[in-house]
């Protein structure tokens, strides 16, 4: 049956309500099992030896002493993970990142691993492994890495995307360009031009749960992997490929996940745990320490961005240009490309040009972090937009409204927009009471907009109706923040039954077809589409069974509010059959009733948000305090509004941390100096005010209920909104994120001293 994903417009019964989530009780009683909460009989403890050098050739690894230590059951190096990637460059990078092959490319890069009977023995074994390094010059700063004399991280990299093929290798892996019109001409029409350079430091997703897995490989080549991940099907594919297994022989079960935000979309420890288990012949549990999470998982890019925007006196932007340099870690990526696409996406521009450079540095391999690459670009652009408004003498909200993209606008990344929500979020922000709240001394207000694409993707869902009429829903998209509640609401809505009768679970990779991972704000968007489709397939069967029970044609049976209803004059006396009644009879009418769906959810619909915040700055110390914060964002349709609010608030809080205090600090030796929550300072409860939210609902035309993804966009505006507020409070333009107190105080002093 062909599924029609178009928005139909309907009145909702379940969708839009706020019931308690199905996994809630387990999570408040300590019963829910996360990555490290699972154990297998006879399991060993795995631990990883990591490079203390930012850049070094590995001459030799001697594991003999470690192997002889009593209690050590396996020691592995890159030799135990042979290259089976068959020319797939991206997979080779993943393999090399899991276990360094010829060079250690960053402080924390895995070089060997052990499995032993207990943690103490494993720790001792690591100390007995002798690695002979030849230390090489390193580079950790994105701008330094682009200089021609910079240490070369990979001499096989020649910059892609240049007019002429380069003859010398470079740390710049790719140049990309977007835009339209003629910026040179556009700047010619401008009365005011703002030109500035910005920098943002590297940040980490900062999920509270470290990476953890338990791997068990049997001698017959089958394996089980229990792991915290945003995508167990993707992990299965990657692990199977790297270990030379058939995917179907590796069953991956996703644990409850203690936060991901993009950071649990890559494999790091999992192939290592499987390789250890394969060698030891026993299950291996591998849990990263917090130090390892910071040093050796996947933070976001550090960036350096130049912006130039010109406008006429009347407030019309005539041209906009950006050059964006994003660090990728030591492996090729496309992070600047995304920044270049999103930078000016909020605006209607006749002349726009963005250029991105992907830059290799001796830092961990960059991974996605909530709307990856967009917050940094938005920080630079929205700061410059604010400054331009000021120069023209226009209110910053009015200036943005005047230049906001709308339906029919050619986006800065290429295509023409359909119906979009940037205008409405700006209008809502303009009339929000926050805008009129009084400001005290040393307080400033700032606002900014943000854009994110949102994804859909491959999705597979099973809906089974029990004999008692209750419904089990098995989905393959990992629930990172309440999607089992929203999907249960959707199933209840479509079937016309109560939410309480639906129980949603995340199924393992052997129980369901492939699902993309929970990224790109796709969890609820795509799985709700698949759930609707599965429910409709089940309804078709329910109607057939009702038709059998009544002995009439299925064409005369319709589904209304959880009941089969007979239509037509002849059947006027048949009344209704409830889902429960049909389910009870199912054994005699053809067996179990189920609905299945496999689809590609596409047309996720782009997402916009506008944030407003008030910041107080202590002019004597540069300390900041967030006084008020408001998020306005389009959700298409909020399936479970409380969890939508939660996404808005959580993204804002992460953005606040990024804007004010979070950063990777590298020493001159290329080693990370703050790999812990003490000095990598994520916001604590007393740092934040209540975060006000306003959900707009502009239906997505490509989803039956109008749903859009909501998870990521909320982290895009905060960096800029806070920078604008600090600028208004302290009278200085901040161009370096995070705006830590020393940076703010230095800027204030520079302004005072001239």
């Amino acid at each position: 049956m062909n599924f029609d994903p178009r928005y139909s417009g309907r009145n909702f019964t379940s969708v839009g309500t706020r019931p308690i989530r199905p996994d809630g009780v387990d999570k408040v009683t300590g019963r829910a099992r996360y990555g490290a909460d699972f154990n297998m009989a006879g399991q060993l403890v795995g631990r990883v030896l990591r490079s203390p050098h930012a850049h070094a050739t590995i001459r030799k690894i001697d594991t003999s002493k470690a192997e002889k230590l009593p209690g050590v059951k396996a020691v592995i190096t890159a030799a135990d993970l042979p290259d089976l990637t068959d020319g797939d460059a991206a997979m080779y990078d993943i393999l090399d990142n899991c276990m360094a092959r010829t060079k250690a490319l960053y402080d924390g890069h895995a070089v060997a691993a052990v499995a032993a009977v207990d943690a103490r023995t494993a720790r001792q074994a690591l100390k007995l492994i002798v690695v002979d390094y030849e230390v090489l010059p390193h580079v950790t700063d994105v701008d330094e890495a682009m200089k021609h004399h910079a240490p070369l991280i990979n001499d096989a990299i020649f910059t892609e995307g240049l007019e002429e093929k380069p003859v010398k290798p470079s740390n710049v892996t790719k140049r990309s360009q977007f835009g339209h019109g003629d910026v040179h001409q556009g700047f010619g029409h401008a009365d005011f031009v703002v030109e500035r350079s910005f920098k943002t430091e590297q940040t980490h997703q900062g999920y509270i749960e470290p990476h953890a897995c338990v791997a068990s490989v049997s001698s017959d080549g089958t394996a089980d992997l229990w792991v915290c991940t945003q995508g167990h099907f993707v992990y299965r594919q990657h692990c199977a490929q790297l270990l030379g297994m058939e995917a179907s022989k590796l069953r991956v079960t996703s644990s409850e996940i203690g936060g991901g935000f993009g950071g649990k979309t890559h494999v790091w420890a999992e192939p290592v745990a499987l390789a250890l288990s394969r060698k030891a012949g026993r299950p291996v549990k591998l849990v990263m320490t917090r130090d390892e999470v910071f040093r050796a998982s996947g933070p976001t890019s550090a960036t350096s961005i130049d912006i130039r925007i010109g406008a006429r006196k009347d407030g019309t932007i005539t041209a906009a240009e950006a050059t964006l340099r994003y660090s990728c870690g030591p492996y090729a990526g496309s992070w600047a490309e995304i920044g270049a696409m999103t930078a000016f996406a909020c605006y209607k521009l006749d002349n726009v040009k963005t250029v991105g450079y992907e830059v290799l540095v001796n830092r961990p391999k960059t991974a996605a972090y909530r709307a990856p690459s967009a917050p940094m670009a938005a920080f630079a652009v929205e700061s410059a937009v604010d400054e331009l408004a000021k120069e023209i003498g226009m209110d910053p909200v009015e200036f943005r409204i005047r230049n906001a993209a709308q339906e029919g606008t050619r986006s800065s990344y290429g295509p023409v927009y359909g119906p979009i929500g940037i205008g409405p979020t700006l209008e809502a922000a303009r009339s929000h009471p926050h805008m009129k709240a009084p400001l005290g001394p040393n307080q400033g207000r700032g606002m900014a907009c943000g854009f994110w694409f949102n994804f859909g993707g491959q999705t597979c869902t099973d809906l089974n109706i029990g004999m008692d009429g209750s419904v089990s829903l098995a989905v393959g998209t990992v629930d990172v923040g309440g999607s089992r509640a929203s999907l249960s609401l959707v199933a209840a809505e479509e079937l016309g039954i109560a939410y309480e009768h639906v129980k949603a679970i995340v199924a393992d990779t052997s129980s369901l077809g492939y699902n993309d991972m929970t990224d790109g704000s796709r969890g609820t968007f795509s799985s709700s589409m698949a759930t609707i489709s599965a429910a409709r397939n089940a309804i078709k069967i329910l109607r057939e069974r009702a038709a059998q029970m009544w002995d009439i044609s299925v064409d005369d049976v319709v589904w209304e509010k959880g009941h089969a209803v007979a239509r037509g004059e002849k059947h006027g006396n048949l009344g209704k059959l409830s889902l429960k009644e049909i389910a009870a009879a199912s054994g005699k009418t053809g067996g179990p009733i189920a609905g299945h769906s496999e689809l590609v959810a596409d047309g996720a619909g782009v997402s916009f948000a506008t944030h407003i915040c008030d910041i107080e700055v202590d002019p004597e110390t540069g300390a900041t305090r967030v006084i008020r914060y408001t998020v306005v964002q389009d959700a298409g349709k909020a399936v479970h509004p409380t969890y939508v609010e939660g996404q808005y608030q959580g993204g804002a809080a992460q953005g606040i941390g990024w804007a004010l205090n979070e950063e990777y600090i590298y020493g001159k030796d290329g080693r990370l100096q703050n790999p812990g929550f003490l000095d990598y300072r994520i916001p604590v409860c007393s740092d934040l005010p209540m975060i006000d939210t306003q959900i707009l609902e502009i239906p997505n035309p490509n989803h039956p209920y109008g749903v859009r993804g909501v998870g990521e966009t909320s982290i895009v505006p905060p960096l800029a909104a806070i920078a604008n507020a600090v600028s208004n409070a302290a009278g200085v333009r901040m161009t370096h994120i995070p705006m830590s107190p020393p940076r703010i105080l230095a800027a204030i002093e520079a302004e005072r001293g001239g």
């Binding site: 991206a90 892609e160 995307g161 007019e163 790719k174 140049r175 990309s176 360009q177 977007f178 997703q205 991901g260 935000f261 993009g262 950071g263 979309t265 496309s334 490309e337 995304i338 696409m341 996605a368 972090y369 909530r370 709307a371 990856p372 986006s411 990344y413 290429g414 295509p415 023409v416 927009y417 359909g418 694409f453 949102n454 994804f455 859909g456 993707g457 491959q458 990224d519 790109g520 704000s521 796709r522 590609v600 596409d602 047309g603 996720a604 619909g605 782009v606 490509n702 998870g711 990521e712």
Partner: protein
């Protein structure tokens, strides 16, 4: 025949053109024809290309039809968080 707009990097591989004409009824055929006409595209198609049809971005629906006169825009396939 549909007109397809290429993004920067793709345009360079097509000899500096920003738009190309292709005879294709859906995304699958579009990618096949593009790979035939421009063999240099193949690794990029393998890596992932998204297609925006009248502003809606399709990353995976290769069966999606390409309506006559629609604006068809090729974009890099992105990662999310």
């Amino acid at each position: 025949m549909v007109e397809v707009t290429l993004w920067g990097a793709l345009g360079q591989l097509a000899g500096g053109q920003s738009k190309v004409e292709v005879e294709a009824k859906d995304i699958r055929e579009l990618f096949r024809k593009l790979a035939e006409q421009y063999p240099a595209f193949e690794p990029l198609i393998d890596r992932g290309i998204a297609v925006a049809i009248d502003g809606t971005i399709y990353r995976d629906t290769w069966s999606k039809e390409l309506p006559q006169g629609a604006e068809i825009f090729l974009m890099p396939r992105l990662a999310g968080g």
